[in-house]
Symmetry: D2
Subunit: 135 residues, 4 copies
């Protein structure tokens, strides 16, 4: 796995994100992964809000996630987000969610670049600078 | 309290809507109230999705809610939604959320009619038919 | 793929489930899949709420999902949920989310049976009747 | 309004918290208010997670909120949380949600102290230190 970009994010589990078992609901992990992608972009000087204002959107087309151990309310987690592949229209990311040294979940996603109508478009040059070493 | 329109909706509490205490999270009630307003509209032949496509939006500007008893996962609840006041630009609704004969919550909301930019606009004539007896 | 049990569920997309693009947020699909599993159980005479009260829980340990086309606010969707595999401690489900004849998403999940402390336990005999033809 | 304790919290609006209008959904504000209460507690050396482990819970019994202006995705907001009243079993809080100098919402809540069964109990002495100047 070649890593084209990497970012680490601290996330504290919120009360309404936890279910009746007291565990972070498994659907919430996908919201955390999205935050990981957005903060990786921000760390490279890109605002996803501004990207959308230019009519460029990224939609999730594939998710794979393995849950290893539960997370609980108020725990401080670390999410490692890595860009592992880029094509003209897609990014693949890989993720590790950890609590200290404990691996809670591993995931991969594929996102595609689309316009306002949902048609595939080429990833703008400026965002490709995400992966300068990919050339 | 004059009732200009009334609607009853059955709602089953979903798993991720419940918090670590096993109770429907208090923020979720506002989502249920919104469903009550939307289904009241639908029962009068109006689709909120289509209203939005015409550039007409309703934004919540005030909520008051009293929680009387908790709701739990998988319980079947009844939400009574009533239009209690209408002006040129606003609707006031009152609500009762019940489980059988037990009152779980009482609420009132004020919603305002706005355009895409958030400016107040007059409620369209067609939607005023919500309250024919108000004329 | 052998189908051990199958269930069809209608789901209407709620307003706060939709994101700024106007699409059902990709994390919400996992909540719909959970509703599919729970309603499949209910159609067989089992209440997941009661199962939990007996100290038996099912936790999601793996999700794979492919998003094919977006769903929008207020659309009426059909979720087909199928049990495709059962071991002593796990169920595998496969899902199709459709809007009419349009396939919106395909997914598979693995859930494991655990006790209150999160330890793997054997799926109770009574729940195995989910898959009578599997014996 | 006497202020018994006060805390300021920065919150960045997340993508799935925003609705199809592009605005922070009005139900999410209640989740932010809860975060404000929890972080005020933490700033006084109390962990709500640990309080719950001791069998002490706080349930929301009343909310009033006025929405003044919308918040959008990725905006950095400031939430001011104030304890304005304390009885043997209840706390009243008042809140201001701001974006810079713009007031987005004002709210008040009442929370009650209960045990695991939902019965009202007296607020523990240690938590009353929240408001030392109230003596």
């Amino acid at each position: 796995m070649k890593v084209l970009a990497e970012h680490s994010l601290q996330i504290r589990v919120r009360y309404p994100e936890v279910d009746a078992m007291g565990y972070l609901h498994h659907s919430r992990y996908l919201q955390y992964l999205e935050m990981g992608r957005i903060e990786l972009l921000r760390s490279r000087g890109h605002s996803y809000a501004q990207i959308e204002q230019q009519g460029i959107f990224f939609v999730v087309i594939k998710v794979q996630i393995n849950y290893k151990a539960p997370a609980k309310y108020d725990e401080d987690l670390t999410l490692i987000t890595r860009v592992i592949k880029q094509t003209h229209v897609r990014f693949d990311h890989a993720y590790e969610l950890r609590r200290g040294n404990t691996l809670l979940a591993e995931a991969t996603t594929t996102i595609a670049c689309v316009d306002r109508t949902g048609q595939l478009i080429q990833i703008p040059e400026s965002l490709s600078t995400l992966a300068p070493s990919a050339q």
